[in-house]
Amino acid sequence: MLNPDHSLNPAFALEMRGISKSFAGVRALSDVTVRVQQNHIHALIGENGAGKSTLMKILDGVYPAGTFEGQIFLRDRPVRLGSPFDARQQGIGYVPQEIGVIEGLTIAENIFVGRWNEEGGVIVDFQRLFTRAAELLDTMKIQLDPRVQVVTLNASQRQLVMIARALAARPSVLILDEATACLTLDETRNLFRVVRRLRGQALTTIFITHKMSELFEIADSATILRDGTVAAEFERAQFDEHEIVAAMVGRTIENYYPVRESAVSDREVFRVEELTVPHPHLAHRNVVDGVSFSLRRGEILGIGGLVGSGRSETVNALYGRLPHRGRIFVEGRETLVRNPREAKAHGLGLLTEDRKLDGLLFNFAIRENVTLHDLPQVSRLRVLDRAHETACAAHYLQQLSIRAPSVQTPVANLSGGNQQKVVLAKVLFPKPRVLFLDEPTKGVDVGAKNEIYKLMMGLAGQGIALVVISSELPELLALADRIVVLARGRIVDEFNKQEASEQRFMLAATGGANSHLSN
């Protein structure tokens, strides 16, 4: 594709010059300069903790002028951003990583939040509001009814609403902070198509992503951050996957997907028969419908399927978090798993999909999070043994190479990848036999992903049976010994690693669910 930069004006649409920022003595950014040309789609990439989000929060005025060093220029004009409101006024639109919709309101009200009337006035003209929203959604090629309440939308639809909200203000610079993390492949392509078209209308975009494919598909240029400094800058013509990854991690990664070394044993550790999970709100409808599979010691079973296919509900039910029917056998013995306590007692472990929501205690340090699943192990006569607890946590800190000053570092201060490793340490601490991993590498950078893969292989080598859910197909195909594909709560295909291919997977996942949009 040709570089579309044919404007006569050579000015940068955005320049962040010499930005440095420290948090309580810790340097998060040092002398970072990012220049983005008019109408470019600029990718900002780097591992978790590299400083991408900090940089974007500076640009969004969340960290106001005066709390950092350096200067920001919009079209060569220096600007002072004292708050996110200032940023809006200057034409900066920001779609944050976390989805912040107001559930009780309609899509239209969410899109135009705070600006429900064009002309001002106290009474909201809903007809006009819905029309405006419909027009906007239409230009974005999003098929959503603006009158629908946001509470009924799934994660990817909510994300689209957030993007529509940012675009509704007609920004000149749009920041997408991992906004594609929970979108499906189609939705991402669609979004990119829209962004491309908007690029023709003087929109400059900065997007943060961990997905290499997106970078190649859409970006005109890229800045790679590492440890708070600019590690490299690339123009589209120079994009090279190896160089980019090397710049991100500061080294070349060998064996991105580790190869399985140990053999899977023949002994079955876990079996589920006819697992059925009723829909939480609708009668006579099941989100998981008659799912059966078995697991052998050291086996990695992948569960694939589109968002809403019942993947997550399956593992959450098996861990006792959802009411369910069906028979569960652990080590050949039928067991009841009515709540997480019973699941844990039978040697099951669960890493939940969203570490922010239910993965970690953010008020606490690494130590208290790691030991939470087995407090008796670090106590004597019900009194906690601090020294032993610290030692246990330090052991995992080292084993999972969690990068933190000490076990007493609050988990809130860690980067996403390191937080994810703490969640893993937490579920590993009681030494489970069967581990359910729901999107174990979600929102995690390349380097940390690779480390988590190695860790999973290591666990399988120790004889732990793993059930892995992942939306990243290459990851699933590379890691799993066997894959079951779900669609609309049912198993539609099952195959071994040797028979696995993206085509077969997608055919099963979409073919069996021709109306997967209906939820």
Partner: protein
């Protein structure tokens, strides 16, 4: 400078510094403020609210709140004095019955909140009315006296110039602090209040952790109510009126988050001290006593503000 920054990082610093400042100011205004008698009087005065505040600290860290503590304290005092005086039960039986009423009130609060999902604020506000009403029904609105001699003597004794009630407070606060920070159960309390789902996934029976904390708070209210009864030498139906607000104010000043998961008993102790210092200080400096109430309100909101500020500087 470095020392100051370290001090600022300690969770209780936000209260300890103003406590020192207030104490010094009042001492400068009136030297008699820190005379042994005056100090003893201050410590005695914070006893009853203090005992309940220990339980409330646990409960609020676990993510709950109990507005009924004052009424429950009153009900327990009346039930035990009624059983001893009118029904002629022995002292031990009367006290145990009072304690049982406290546990029961906590259990009911806990079950209603946890099992039926009624917001704690509403459920315990209901209990506030119910307990006070039962109290008046039982005693017909009249004080019950005299109470048995052993209790009267207990209430009159002055160990170390203080009272047995104060000794009980210090013991309960000490045990409460240790158990919260250092035992498995205490850790479960923090986890439950910090994030119920995370705690549940960890296999913690969060329902019983919370119900347990309601029961503990109810029992603490019973202890406080009956100790005051022994000191007054009367089963006074008005025991505990308005305590709930003092209890919650001191717990919150002490740094316990209304959202749960954060706080310590030591913090609550400092919160109690600060409230008492300001109240007594205003008295010794001869300010109109109604300013005390104004001061408590101002201090509570300021304390929470300072705490928020401290957290912010720590994170960013």
């Amino acid at each position: 400078m470095k020392f100051l920054r370290k001090l600022w990082a300690i969770p209780e610093a936000g209260i300890f510094v103003p406590l020192l400042v207030f104490t010094l100011v009042f001492f400068c205004l009136n030297q008699s403020f820190l005379e042994p008698n005056s100090v003893a009087a201050m410590l005695r005065a914070m006893t009853f609210v203090g005992i309940i505040a220990v339980g409330q600290t646990w409960l609020m860290i676990a993510g709950g709140i109990d507005l009924s503590v004052g009424s429950v304290a009153g009900l327990c005092a009346i039930v035990s004095s009624w059983l001893m005086k009118t029904q002629g039960l022995p002292v031990e039986a009367g006290l145990l019955a009072g304690l049982a009423v406290g546990f029961m009130a906590g259990l009911v609060n806990g079950l209603i909140v946890v099992r039926f999902g009624i917001p704690a604020f509403i459920a315990t506000l209901g209990m506030l009315y119910v307990a006070r009403g039962l109290n008046y029904l039982l005693c017909q609105g009249y004080p019950i006296y005299p109470i048995p001699d052993p209790l009267k003597d207990l209430g009159r004794a002055e160990p170390l110039g203080l009272s047995w009630a104060f000794v009980a407070f210090v013991l309960l606060a000490g045990i409460g602090d240790f158990a919260l920070r250092r035992t498995v159960y205490g850790r479960m309390v923090y986890a439950t209040g910090g994030n119920v789902e995370v705690a549940r996934i960890a296999g913690i029976n969060t329902a019983w952790v919370q119900i347990g904390c309601y029961m503990l708070t109810g029992a603490m209210a019973a202890v406080a109510g009956m100790l005051l009864m022994s000191q007054l030498n009367v089963g006074q139906p008005e025991i505990g009126v308005g305590w709930e607000l003092d209890v919650i104010a001191s717990v919150v000043i002490g740094g316990v988050s209304l959202f749960g998961g954060v706080g310590t008993v030591v913090g609550t102790f400092l919160g109690l001290l600060i409230m008492q210092v300001v109240r007594s200080g205003l008295v010794v400096t001869g300010v109109n006593t109604h300013w005390q109430t104004v001061a408590v309100g101002v201090i509570m909101v300021t304390a929470v503000g300072v705490d928020l500020l401290r957290r912010r500087t720590k994170i960013s």
